[in-house]
Symmetry: C2
Subunit: 101 residues, 2 copies
């Protein structure tokens, strides 16, 4: 499996409505077959230094993750949502072996 | 479930041996019963801007995550490893509902 973890801070002045629309658009990416698993959440607010949001995405491998990025749904998500609401962004990507079920 | 995601960059000049010792110490935290799941990985190196390492940890809730932080094994891990090898660090914590098995 190939995991991608994206943490970010909201850009300044992003409205609650724009955040909601972002989260909905992110959930819409589940329709892309290459995206095998997606977990995301708004920071719980226990610590002031934390970033605001994180998404953990799993793919079969790096090549399928690249196909996901190129998918029209993902392109629209970036253009209409991510590029407008995300400020600082930190990404880590790594291979991993899921535990046996 | 309560998820904690920590992304970081290695401090400058950290040796491969110190990185290995850090990873081993991190794996040693699995002995703490409050830590229900741990996945970590070194960045795959596809993109220069990525951070170096990420760890995804799951707990039952925030309170048990606090007990994990206070556990002697975790205190030793911070003192002898994390505090020595980690430079920039980004944290996000959020509640989430795991999918039904």
């Amino acid at each position: 499996m190939f995991r991608q973890v994206i943490s970010f801070r909201w850009a300044e002045g992003v409205s609650p409505e724009a955040r909601r629309a972002y989260r909905d658009a992110l959930d819409g990416l589940r329709a892309i077959p290459e995206l095998l698993a997606l977990t995301w959440g708004d920071d719980a607010g226990h610590f002031d230094d934390n970033f605001d949001f994180v998404a953990v995405m799993d793919f079969a491998d790096f090549e399928t993750a690249r196909r996901y990025v190129a998918h029209p749904l993902h392109q629209t998500y970036v253009r209409d949502h991510a590029s407008r609401v995300v400020a600082e962004r930190v990404v880590v990507q790594h291979d991993w072996d899921p535990p046996d079920p």
